[in-house]
């Protein structure tokens, strides 16, 4: 049994990754996630077969991770928004070559250089693949220190299970905030599932090729459909949400990550004055938990999406609702962090405007 410890988010991810069998990390400094590679550098020194590399670029880092993954290691890289843009080449190759890897994006204000404040501007990039070609990455959106620990461990399992890149999508606030956490148990490396596809030298078996060049369009099409079938399975098997006070709700707020914690604080406030408002929080952004949204729409006709951007996840909410319910949006892009009071005011104003206090 591991004791509860007080740790900042970036350290939680790093420690949880190591405990989950991550033996290769490559990264490049960028704020606000530098404490993650720094923690890795120190912690991995103490592990015989672990490799930490401060790479010359984000591109090199993700391609080193790709090599380590080919060689059979649980491998990870981390960065923040502009650096994640550079990693997209590697993420596309990881998806195409069906290689497991975990990529942490500690999002900051953008576009361009933006700033180093917490943001959710990379939702589209993360959930739509991000790099070139017809692929998806699994995108996990933890919101608490404990979820960072649990979802880091889960990210490595999912990456292995589906042979796919998995993105942990957090922001600078979650990366910096210290919270009490019970880290995952140390994984016995023997428990990491056997991989029958890695490149470790063709001893006593035929030589293997890991590649994504498929010149014949018919075969490339089949490869795309193969990936698509995998994505269909993931969509069926992996939709995670937290529902908070939605049973009697007349209005459901949808938010993820830091925005969801702010929204929860706001909902507690408006509940005190009798407004029937709940929270539906996606923990998987891809696959988007459309089922839970659809289920909620059977009894809730008004949805408010709150994001720290100009409106990205709101498109997935609209797609899931198929016009069965109304969708409202409130966003603060650019690294502005709303207070629960601000969101409580937004909720209250909308609630009265929509006349939801009237019994129907």
């Amino acid at each position: 049994m591991t004791d509860k410890v007080l740790m900042r988010g970036t350290h939680v991810i790093a420690e949880s990754a190591i405990r989950s069998g991550c033996r290769f990390y490559a990264g490049y400094p960028i704020t606000p996630q530098n404490e993650l590679p720094e923690y890795m550098a120190e912690a991995m020194m103490a592990i015989d077969n672990a490799t930490f590399i401060q790479a010359e670029s984000e591109i090199a880092a993700v391609n080193m991770v790709l090599g380590a993954s080919m060689a059979g290691a649980r491998a990870m890289t981390s960065s923040s928004s502009p650096g994640i843009s550079l990693k997209q080449e590697g993420i596309s190759f990881l998806a195409a070559q069906e290689l497991p890897a975990v990529i942490v994006n500690c999002m900051r204000g953008g576009p361009g250089l933006g700033n180093i404040a917490p943001s959710q501007g990379d939702y589209f990039q993360a959930t739509r693949g991000g790099g070139h070609g017809d692929y998806r990455s699994i995108v996990l959106a933890p919101a608490t220190g404990q979820e960072l620990a649990d979802f880091t461990a889960r990210a490595f399992d999912l990456a292995d299970r589906y042979r796919s890149p998995v993105v942990l999508l957090i922001d600078g606030m979650m990366g910096q905030m210290m919270e009490p956490v019970v880290p995952p148990e140390f994984m016995d490396e023997a428990d990491i599932p056997y991989r029958n596809w890695i490149l470790d030298g063709a001893r006593g078996r035929p030589s293997r090729i890991i590649k994504s060049l498929i010149l014949d369009p018919a075969k490339e099409e089949e490869h795309n459909w193969k990936l698509y079938r995998k994505y269909e399975n993931i969509t069926k098997e992996l939709q995670i949400t937290e529902a908070y006070q939605i049973d009697d709700a007349r209005l459901v707020v949808m938010a993820y990550g830091t925005a969801a914690r702010i929204a929860k604080g706001a909902i507690k406030r408006v509940r005190e004055i009798g407004l029937k408002v709940g929270l539906l929080r996606p923990l998987t952004l891809w696959p988007f938990p459309a089922r839970a949204v659809e289920d909620a729409s059977r009894f809730v006709k008004e949805f408010l999406v709150f994001e720290m951007n100009t409106g990205q996840m709101v498109e997935d909410v609209r797609l899931a609702l198929k016009h069965r319910s109304e969708v409202h949006f409130y966003g603060r892009p650019g690294g502005v962090v709303s207070t629960p009071d601000e969101i409580a005011k937004v909720i209250t104003s909308l609630y009265y405007r929509l006349h939801l206090e009237e019994e129907q």
Binding site: I53, A61, A202
Partner: protein, 254 residues
């Protein structure tokens, strides 16, 4: 009973090469396969093919092969080698791959002293995409993007990546050879043997740059292309051992 004097190397698959007539890649593939066989490392070798003319190298080498994105061979090879330090890892890269888009990955892998072997095939143009100017295109050379010939003021001068790599303290062995004649083919094999052996002995980063004819894009016959290497290309890229510190007393590689 007659003894065969020429046979397919064990680690070359029985597949016809797709390369153009007179291209150097097939010779270089064969040399690498011979070296792998003679060193007895076929079952522990992992190759990293490039994007470029040799992108299909995995169809020919009968060892484990993992494709890298354009220019990222040394980064991918680094990842593989760090996880499997007792395996032999080589990347196979063209001049555009290694000396333009992958310059950073190559220099830094060399500087870290990654214990890998890089085969750098220099044909002074982008062959697969149709013969555009490469960083190694020599002055005066006409390509599809230097129709009037490469000039220093407009295009810069040809880059000598091997010399740059030699400056990196983690590199131990760098030689420039060619495959334009039998004598040079034999020298190239010796250089490859030395580079792979250096890796087997844990010495650090080794690189063999091989000048290779591209008759198709040079618009020459295969014989003229070999002559062109001898008379023109070697003026810019002289054949020599650029660095040999294999036996130097030095801090070991990672």
């Amino acid at each position: 009973m007659s003894k065969p004097v020429f046979h397919r190397p064990k680690y070359l698959k029985d597949a016809p090469f797709h390369y153009c007539p007179g291209c150097g890649h097939s010779i270089i593939h064969r040399l690498i396969a011979e070296v792998i066989e003679e060193l007895g490392i076929g079952e522990i070798t992992i190759g990293v093919p490039p994007a470029g003319c040799a992108v299909l190298a995995y169809d020919y080498f009968d060892v484990d092969m993992g494709e890298a994105a354009h220019g990222r061979g040394c980064a991918v090879a680094t990842g593989i080698k760090r996880i499997l330090p007792d395996r032999i890892v080589f990347s196979y890269q063209g001049d555009g791959d290694i000396a333009a888009i992958g310059t950073a990955e190559t220099i830094h892998a060399a500087n870290r002293g990654e214990n890998i072997t890089v085969i750098f095939v220099n044909n002074s143009c982008y062959g697969m995409t149709g013969g555009q100017m490469a960083p190694t295109t020599v002055l005066g050379q006409k390509t599809t993007t230097t129709p009037g010939g490469r000039t220093a003021p407009l295009h810069g001068t040809p880059i000598d990546l091997s010399q740059m790599i030699a400056l990196a303290r983690g590199s131990v062995y760098i030689e420039r050879t060619s495959v334009h004649s039998v004598r040079h083919i034999l020298k190239t094999k010796k250089a490859l043997m030395k580079a792979f052996t250096a890796q087997m002995n844990g010495r650090g980063f080794s690189l063999v740059e091989i000048l290779s004819p591209c008759p198709t894009n040079w618009k020459l016959t295969p014989v003229e292309a070999c002559d062109h290497i001898e008379k023109e290309i070697t003026k810019t890229f002289p054949l020599k051992v650029i660095k040999d510190e294999i036996d130097a007393d030095r801090q070991g590689p990672p």
